[in-house]
């Protein structure tokens, strides 16, 4: 890191190809690590998405038999080397298990924090890097290492346990390669812990002088709350998965009822992590939505403190509700307690949604792709969130548990929430970290297709769920055929939408217009840095002259006042009081 490079873009190639490659492979620059993470999680998203398309194809028809007794639908029947037959069902079971595990452990958990968070969290704090840059690099290689295990498992037979690895099925099945997939999830957990620790310390210790806790952008708050959950919940998953591995290798019997163990204990352990994990998935998405809304509506966020505190409240309460995944297996008393606590966690989320919509009031909305995504997020996530209460309500969950209603619920929050926020954030920050603009109209088209495709795919599943269609079904009774076919068609629209986004991004990288330092007129620190930022982010440490969302009083950096006119100061004083 010689002084001469300091003012060069972090993406600038080095003198030789080898040095350039080395500067990535052995980088401790948070932006490069973030970009590598970004490429990896996108690849994983597409892989998981291909599995999703395949499994939706398989569900086109209710049973194995197609026209005139020809057996085998979309997925083939295969004979393995040792003469075992992988049936159509088994293929399907592999599809959804791989889809679920890849999407959860390799895509969505690292997606926003490790990719966009890594790139932008330090910049938004005005810092040169995260607190522990080498730990950051280690987190990335741990992720790669875990990913290798997962891909090995995929090639060496896959898994067919579902992403939840429920015992005793997962410890007794001899299909596929469960052990290495469980190990992969175990290793990926460490990667997540490292990232979380790093971010917590960064937020505590690397804020620019003068930046108080309530001067932080809300994305930082959200990632901070996420990091707390990552650090506190993931170790429990680690130990649980380790016990599953031991169970498979040495039959230790802790989770195996045949040896006097307790399979429900596994479920408790698993959900003690995996419920907080769903907030690991969504909180960073909340953060992105707050940023997008503020910038593209040119508006101070309504209820900044409420949004910030609700992130922390969600993180705290999320540890107390795991039992709501087990209403059909636990005792009545435990269920009642968990049901009540689950409703508590919905309240801070509700507060956020209201605040976001209120932010749009009297704002100046520019309908760019990020803003379209924010609106799509508000639509889909609200549906996803609102279908949480019927699952948290005891009487109704008994009917809805393990049906497509749950499948629809979690896709509406994960896909309709996190993924939409992620893709929106990607467009929002794309000019910043690549230095190039993308094609706005094509991106808008992609967004609209994704939005339509998504709702067609998953809204149908709410009906199926209430009608009683169980999940993880390779075959089903005829009466659901139409619903399933509509859903499958939706997944194609979704696929085309993402394909368009992919093209837009590639086009932008190759031939995109150069981006200015602040194309949207944002006020947070990342818009003060160059596009793309230089190696140490800023040539001079930035100074706090305004809050992150003071759009009524502050002119965005690098911007022409004509493009971003400020309201009459007298009016502003009347509304906000003297500043």
């Amino acid at each position: 890191m010689s002084a001469g490079h300091h003012d060069v873009s972090y993406l600038a190639p080095k003198e030789t190809l080898f040095k350039t490659v080395w500067s990535w492979v052995y980088t401790i620059d948070h932006k490069k690590i973030g970009v590598m993470y970004l490429c990896a999680v996108l690849a994983m998203f597409f892989l998981g998405g291909v599995f999703a398309l395949l499994l939706r194809m398989e569900l086109w028809e209710p049973t194995k038999t197609t026209v005139e007794g020809v057996t085998g639908t979309f997925l083939p029947t295969v004979n393995t080397a040792d003469g075992q037959q992988i049936t159509v069902n088994n293929m399907y079971n592999r599809m959804f298990s791989l889809h679920g595990t890849i999407m959860v452990f390799l895509f969505i958990i690292p997606s926003i924090p490790a990719a966009l968070g890594n790139i932008f969290l330090p910049i938004m704090l005005g810092a040169k890097d995260v607190a522990f840059p080498r730990l950051n690099l280690m987190s990335w290689y741990t992720y790669v290492f875990g990913g290798v295990f997962a891909l090995y498992s995929l090639i060496a037979g896959g898994v067919e346990t579902g992403w939840t690895f429920y015992t005793p099925y997962s410890t007794t099945t001899n299909w596929g390669n469960v052990t290495s997939m469980v190990l992969a999830a175990f290793i990926l957990g460490f990667s997540s812990i490292f990232t979380g620790m790093n971010f917590i310390v960064t937020v505590h210790k690397l804020r620019v002088p003068g930046m108080g806790w309530f001067d932080m952008p809300l994305f930082v708050w959200a990632v901070y709350a996420t990091a707390i959950i990552q650090v506190l919940a993931t170790p429990v998953l680690g130990i649980t998965l380790l016990m599953v591995v031991f169970e498979r290798l040495f039959h230790i019997g802790i989770f195996d009822p045949a040896l006097g163990g307790d399979p429900v204990l596994f479920q408790h352990f698993f959900w003690f992590y995996s419920h907080p994990a769903v907030y690991i998935m969504i909180l960073p998405g909340f953060g992105i939505i707050s940023e997008i809304l503020a910038v593209h509506c040119r508006k101070r966020l309504f209820g900044y403190r409420a949004i910030a505190f609700s992130s922390i409240a969600i993180a705290a309460i999320s540890f107390l509700v795991w039992g709501h995944h087990m209403f059909t297996s636990e005792t009545a008393v435990a269920n009642v307690v968990f049901s009540a606590l689950t409703f508590l966690v919905a309240i801070p989320t509700a507060i956020k949604v209201f605040n976001w919509v209120a932010t749009m009031y009297k704002s100046s909305i520019s309908w760019t792709t990020p803003m379209l995504y924010a609106a799509a997020f508000l639509f889909c996530f609200t549906i996803g969130g609102l279908t949480g209460p019927p699952l948290a309500t005891l009487a109704t969950d008994i009917h809805l548990h393990d049906t497509y209603f749950v499948v629809a619920h979690f896709h509406y929050v994960m896909m309709g929430g996190t993924v939409l926020a992620f893709v929106g954030g990607l467009h929002h920050w794309w000019p910043k970290f690549t230095g190039r603009m993308y094609n706005e109209n094509w991106a808008r088209l992609g967004c609209i297709l994704v939005f339509i495709g998504f709702n067609v795919t998953f809204f149908t599943q709410f009906f199926m769920g209430t009608l009683g269609m169980p999940r993880r079904y390779a075959t089903y009774v005829d009466e659901f055929t139409t619903w399933h076919q509509v859903s499958t068609v939706g997944s194609w629209i979704l696929g085309i939408g993402f394909l368009i986004h992919l093209m837009v991004f590639l086009q932008s990288l190759v031939a995109g217009r150069k981006a200015g330092a602040n194309p949207w007129g944002g006020l947070t620190f990342e818009w003060e840095a160059a596009s793309p930022p230089i190696e140490h982010n800023f040539s001079h440490e930035p100074v706090m002259t305004h809050g992150p969302y003071d759009y009524d009083t502050a002119l965005p950096p690098h911007c022409d006042p004509k493009d971003f006119p400020l309201p009459d100061p007298a009016l502003v004083r009347r509304v906000h009081g003297a500043h």
Binding site: T87, Y304, Y361, L378, A395, D402, L566
Partner: protein, 404 residues
């Protein structure tokens, strides 16, 4: 697609509503309204929020050169109301859901007990007196067992599993409960007084099951906890019958003495779940097919060669792991105690009939045996109870025949 839509409408007409399916138990009346309460609260907030979003999106879209109007960035009254009102609405959800749920958990004292066993990948229901179901129906390409539930009293299912976790799910009854190995869980229902079937006849002539409403074939039973390969085929058909029909149903299921061995074998093939792994059309599945194997000699994993005969079939049923065919891994657990000697014999005879070279022989044996049964029954001194009539030459307590 259009034909399918109309099919959907005609076939399901009385079965499905838009959201929930036709309700068959007393739980529906408490649970469905809770759902719709949540639904309408949610719809209200959703529409409100989306309407505002779209309205703001249009009215406040950016106009070049025009500054936004400043507006307050918080408002205590608004913020309090959108915290407190949802909280109150959700408290109602919780309380109502809790009350509805507690009602579904405690079984009434007069409930009829039915024992349920889940096993990869089929259900067995044991009615009072140790009677299990033999009827089956073809749904979605698999033969699933048919179970009856009476309308005149509640039923308490006491459930366990022999291998992994399953979940007993009856959507029309709005209830489900996980089924664990090495542990009992229970679930109760009270069917509404709307029988779907009636069972008529008597012990000598035999019983027949009649569907009452031509559109209502009965209700689905699903396995709702992922349990492996054929999780999606681990279903059943639940029919609802009135009190007298229920007694007839039990009689019908208990009495197999007037069914010949080949037919009984075929019934058991699906009723006991053999069909989950063994095909009878020659297709390879989790286990070896039954077609054409009788009398053949096979190679086994331990290197031995064995001819398929009554002894071998018997061993495979009672001690499946003893000899495993090459090319397969043993996924089966012992059926000792769950089939009696006549049933074993019937399965063997059925397998015999599946080899074209032995079909005639099997038929002859089955007829002869049926005649024997008849004779036994007509002789007043015969001790046999229905279901375990003690074939000559085998011990009467065949079900627990000693190993080896």
């Amino acid at each position: 697609m259009i034909t399918q839509f109309s099919m959907l409408a005609s076939e399901i007409g009385p079965q499905q509503k838009f959201w929930f399916r036709h309700n068959a138990s007393t739980f529906g009346d408490t649970i469905d309204p809770i759902y719709f309460y949540i639904f309408w609260v949610s719809a209200f907030f959703f529409v409100l929020l989306m309407a505002l979003m779209v309205y703001f999106g249009i009215v406040y879209r950016r106009k070049p050169g025009v500054a936004p109007q400043p507006s307050a960035s918080h408002n205590t009254f608004l913020e309090l109301s959108w915290s407190v009102i949802p909280t109150i609405l959700m408290a109602v959800m919780f309380y109502w859901g809790f009350k509805g749920y507690i009602g579904t958990r405690i079984a009434p004292a007069d409930a009829e007990t039915i024992y349920v066993t889940g096993q990869k990948w089929f259900w067995t229901l044991e009615y009072p007196g140790g009677v299990t179901t033999k009827d089956n129906e073809r749904i979605a390409d698999v033969d699933v067992p048919v179970f009856a539930v009476p309308t005149d009293r509640p039923v308490n299912f006491i459930m366990t599993s022999t291998d992994v976790i399953h979940s007993f799910y009856m959507p029309a009854f709005r209830t489900k409960r996980d089924v664990f190995p090495n542990r009992y869980t229970n679930l109760w229902v009270k069917a509404l007084d709307q029988p779907t079937h009636r069972v008529v006849g008597d012990t000598t002539k035999g019983f027949t099951v009649e569907q009452i409403d031509e559109k209502n074939k009965g209700y689905f039973l699903f396995c709702a906890e992922y349990c492996g390969d054929q999780h999606s085929q681990m279903g059943g058909r639940i029919i609802v019958v009135d009190g007298p029909s229920y007694q007839n149903w039990i009689q019908k299921q208990s009495d197999t003495s007037n069914i010949d061995l080949v037919t009984l074998g075929k019934l058991l093939w699906s009723a006991k779940g053999c069909n989950a792994c063994h095909s009878i059309d020659g297709n390879k599945n989790t286990g070896p097919t039954w077609k054409g194997i009788w009398g053949e000699t096979h190679e086994f994993q331990d290197g031995s060669k064995i001819k398929v005969d009554l002894n071998y079939i018997r061993e495979s049923i009672l001690e499946p792991a003893a000899h495993v065919r090459t090319g397969f891994s043993n996924q089966m657990v012992s059926y000792a105690g769950r089939v009696n000697e006549r049933e074993i014999r019937s399965i063997a005879t059925f397998i015999m009939s599946l080899n074209d070279a032995h079909t005639a022989e099997a038929q002859a044996e089955a007829e002869a045996e049926l005649a024997e049964q008849k004779a036994l029954k007509e002789a007043p001194a015969a001790p046999g109870t229905p279901g375990t009539p003690g074939t000559p030459g085998t011990p009467a307590d065949g079900a627990t025949a000693p190993k080896q």
